[in-house]
């Protein structure tokens, strides 16, 4: 009992859940937009790295973390165009292009890190995105400790999930996106520009993945490290599928991943091998997936190249 209280009664567990979930949710939300328009996006990992790196670089150059954030998002969009263009114009295999971007981005950011900053890492005085304190909220005993004081991008993420849901399900452009991802030919016959909509979806994905990267390098941390995403892009992919390609679903499954990681952190020191406790997030996911969530259906045209009229 006491043990449970110690672990589950600690607000840090939930604050940490939120912090760990944020990059996943941002990238998963981005992936949702991309795949809803029919372009499979497994390049989140690579795009996050690019965003993380250029976020730091521009923040250092301009002494502004906000410009860094902007740069990371722009870098994310540019990188995502390397997916969008061949996927849309050349009907290339989107999975392979995604893998190519991941390999390329991992190499490029490491190469640039060493070329620009040497082996010592990025400057330690890099400006970082501020932690925000919500005045009233932070005073509420337990809740305040969980969500009263978090990094700027944590709140931005929460807002973006709501906005994302609204855009996807309550705007004309969202309707067009969903249509294009399900049946591009049909959308085209009523005059929807499949090409433009797909570019838009993939770019939103790139922007949000870039933002997720910036969160890692300028929000959660304060600098860039080789491969600092550590597979979060792939976990975000899982979160997106887990969340059934919806914004709220992506958020919830990211929170689940975040919670499981945070829990495995706080369960330590109880005489169990850290390796075994570390399996918790993954076991939990499988259990949830087989027990509760079940089948999830991708948008019908997801990953299928579309050939515009001849």
């Amino acid at each position: 009992m006491n043990f449970f209280l110690q672990v589950f009664g600690n607000p840090e567990l939930y604050a940490s859940t939120l912090a760990m979930a944020t990059p996943l949710a941002l990238a998963a939300l981005g992936g949702t937009f991309s795949e809803r328009t029919g372009v499979v996006n497994i390049a989140m990992e690579g795009i996050m790295l690019v965003g993380a790196f250029f976020g730091v670089m521009i923040a250092v150059l301009t002494h502004s973390s906000l410009l860094g954030l902007l740069a990371g998002m722009v870098a994310g969009i540019i990188t995502s165009l390397a997916l969008a263009w061949p996927a849309i114009r050349l009907q290339s295999d989107q999975v392979i292009i995604g893998m190519a971007i991941n390999v390329f981005a991992g190499g490029l950011t490491a190469f640039l890190l060493n070329t620009v900053y040497g082996y010592n890492g990025t400057p330690t005085n890099t400006p970082f995105l501020p932690t925000i304190t919500i005045p009233g909220l932070v005073k509420i005993p337990f809740l305040g400790q969980v969500i009263g004081q978090q990094n700027l991008l944590v709140y931005v993420m929460l807002i973006l999930v709501v906005v994302g849901h609204y855009v996807l399900f309550h705007t004309n452009i969202g309707l067009q996106m969903r249509a294009v991802g399900e049946h591009p030919e049909a959308a085209a016959t009523v005059g929807v520009s499949v090409v433009n909509i797909r570019y838009l979806g993939v770019s939103i994905g790139g922007m949000l993945s870039g933002m997720a990267g910036v969160y890692l390098s300028l929000g959660l941390l304060n600098g860039f490290d080789v491969n600092m995403t550590n597979g979060r892009g792939y976990i975000a992919l899982a979160a997106m599928i887990f969340g059934k390609w919806t914004p709220f679903g992506s958020l919830l499954s990211s929170l689940l991943f975040g919670f499981a990681i945070a829990l495995s952190i706080s369960l330590q020191g109880y005489q169990v091998s850290a390796n075994l406790v570390g399996m918790l997030p993954y076991v939990l996911t499988i259990v949830a997936l087989t027990g509760i969530i079940g089948r999830s259906r991708a948008p019908l045209a997801d990953g299928i190249p579309y050939e515009p009229s001849k």
Partner: protein, 356 residues
């Protein structure tokens, strides 16, 4: 001959484009691309030992990619081959350092079978059943199982039952009776090559010459039609992911019986991910996988030499690799450029005619 050229010309274009772009980046970063590529080539194929190491590096890629291709053929994306590789490695090493008194002709097969069973169960049973029963997406389950496998491997050698007594966390080395002989002195190339090539042939035959393979492919292309044809789609899902895992597990087994001999505390081979690219580039064709895996292995082994003699960091090979993969996938780019070019030519000719 024409078909062969058609199949090969595209990767060739892609490689050339990738190398040119890589050269430009290197030149910008003030390296000499000529010497860099020269050393890359030397490092990969410069002498028999280098060739041996390159081919040796292709073995686990080949096997893992074969597995991924089988799953792809059934419409399944096995993204967790990395973990299946490691459970295969664990099983093989465990058998390999126990049973020292066994003759090699029992010991080696036993260790490899253990590797295959372990990989097959890991990839097939949980993800396969979860997919078949409740439709749990295999991308998630195989990925999660992969993370679990790697943590399990850490546990095994750090404080767990496979730790060798002593200073460092590692397993005991396998005994000589479980060791695959080296077939090229001073290189990593072991008799595992024969196993890998045999697996390629077996998978090729399985897919294209047996009714089982026909059914696997039918399920992959159209699960509805497969069901209509009386095929138990769920069973084939489990079997396909299972076979996928068997091959990834075998990759781990062969690598450890032939090259690594004991588990040390690094569990990132990267084969599981590179193999996805290999399978995709080879269009899931077993014979194509042989070439593609040698190519990727050459890039990797050559990149080491490139660092040593030209100082270009290995990250640069990732950049070039990424570009090459990109251009292989963007196969229509060449047609696109040609078309645009031709159009311009036609327009130019037309203009001339009008003017003339």
């Amino acid at each position: 001959m024409k078909r062969l050229w058609k199949a090969l010309s595209l990767p060739l274009y892609a490689v050339i484009t990738g190398l040119i772009l890589g050269a430009i980046i290197m030149a910008i970063a003030k390296y000499n691309p000529w010497s860099a590529y020269g050393s890359l080539l030397m490092g990969a194929f410069g002498n028999p030992i280098a060739i041996g190491n390159t081919v040796s590096g292709a073995i686990p890629l080949m096997l893992t990619a074969l597995g991924i291709a089988v799953a792809f053929r059934t419409g399944l994306f096995n993204i967790g081959a990395e973990g299946q590789y490691w459970v295969g490695a664990m099983a093989a090493v465990f058998i390999g350092y126990n049973f020292a008194s066994m003759p090699w002709y029992f010991h080696i097969p036993l260790a490899l079978i253990a590797a295959m069973v372990a990989g097959g169960l890991w990839g097939g049973v949980i993800p396969g059943l979860a997919k078949a029963w409740v439709g749990a997406h295999e991308v998630i389950t195989t990925m999660m199982m992969s993370y679990i496998a790697i943590l399990l491997a850490h546990y095994m050698v750090e404080k767990g039952p496979m730790m060798q007594q002593g200073f460092v966390p590692q397993s005991p080395p396998i005994t000589s009776s479980a060791t695959l002989p080296t077939i090229l002195t001073n290189s990593n190339l072991s008799a595992g090559l024969y196993i890998a090539l045999a697996a390629v042939v077996v998978v090729h035959i399985l897919l294209f010459y047996t009714s089982f393979g026909y059914k696997l492919r039918a399920v992959g292309y159209n699960a509805f039609a497969a069901r209509y044809s009386g095929l138990p789609v769920a069973l084939y899902t489990v079997l396909s992911l299972g076979i996928s895992g068997v091959l990834a597990g075998l990759a781990g087994g062969v690598q450890f019986l032939g090259v690594d001999y004991q588990l040390t505390d690094t569990f990132q081979s990267g084969y599981g991910y590179t193999a996805i690219v290999v399978a995709l580039l080879a269009r899931n064709n077993p014979l194509g996988i042989v070439l593609a895996s040698i190519f990727f292995s050459a890039l990797s082994s050559g990149s080491q030499m490139m660092q040593i003699t030209s100082g270009v960091s290995a990250n640069m090979t990732d950049v070039i690799t990424g570009i090459i993969i990109f251009f292989v996938a963007a196969d229509r780019l060449y047609a696109y450029i040609l078309r645009t070019f031709r159009k311009k030519q036609v327009i130019a000719v037309a203009r001339k005619e009008v003017q003339g």
